[in-house]
Amino acid sequence: MIDRHLAKLRARHPVTAEEEQAIRAAITELRDYPADRTFIKRGVTLDHSTLLLDGIMCRYKDLRNGQRQITELHVAGDFADLHSFTLKHLDHEVMTLTPCRVAIIPHERLHRLTEEWPRLARLYWFATNLDAAIHREWELSLGRRDARAKLAALLCELQIRLQIVGLADERGYALPLTQTDLAECLGLTNVHVNRTLRELREENLVEFQLGQVTIIDLPNLRRAAEFDSAYLYLPEYKQM
């Protein structure tokens, strides 16, 4: 059930069988959400955190005119809102982009987990720091990369994050998102995303069609993005 979460943790740190059991024991409930459901709203008090088991969801903020900026994508194995454990309410929304299965961990149980298993507390602290690193990389993309580079960077990031949890390899991965979803990640319009995808396809770097990313030339896709995976803090990816 939480195998992808454990894979994500173990990609960076060892997790003992006892720690694994403690994480499993902290889960009180499983829920299924349909696609396009905002299930965490800004300002609403939260008494639990949500661990994504299956599907893709996002954090986003929006403007009164309806324009939405997705600030991070979450894949299976990620906590969507571990930071709500300390913040108690969020300054942003969390929404499913595909049907999602999640596990609920009450904050009271997280509190006990961090007291009884201090090393796990540090691992989860690391996880929120990792989210912050991803946000900084997206900030670089939004502020400085051009459309081609930022789309390439996003596809490179997802390739690694999904590979860690067994949902991608170097040839590609399923990405059941729309061009509008991608546009909202990149601060572009879907027409601009469409044109940029065509550019990347014509350069024989990557294709995105019918929810499937097909990577044609990973080294050059990374080069096009100036992608440096160091911000994902994976020892084995340091040289990539």
Partner: protein
């Protein structure tokens, strides 16, 4: 919700929209076309060029063309000596 396709035609050729967009009204589709043209032009400006010869064709679910939006419709150009 309504479904429209925004097909792009510009200097690099035709970029058909195979996915389309869900919007509440045609006005939203038109607004999206305008925003898209501005986004594309602004990206080109960063490379020092402005090419207004393109267009976006808005089509309905039957792929029939509903409206053509020339790039020039999305911006107001003020050149030297003009007010």
């Amino acid at each position: 919700m309504l479904h429209y396709y925004l097909h792009l035609f510009n200097g690099i050729g035709a970029v058909p929209d195979e996915e389309g967009v869900e919007v509440e009204s045609f006005a939203d589709a038109y607004r999206l076309a305008i925003e898209s043209i501005r986004s594309l032009i602004s990206a080109d400006v960063k490379h020092g060029r402005i090419d207004l010869r393109g267009r976006i064709e808005i089509a309905g679910t039957d792929q029939a063309r509903v409206r053509v939006v020339p790039f020039a419709e999305a911006v107001r150009l003020t050149l030297e000596d003009e007010r």
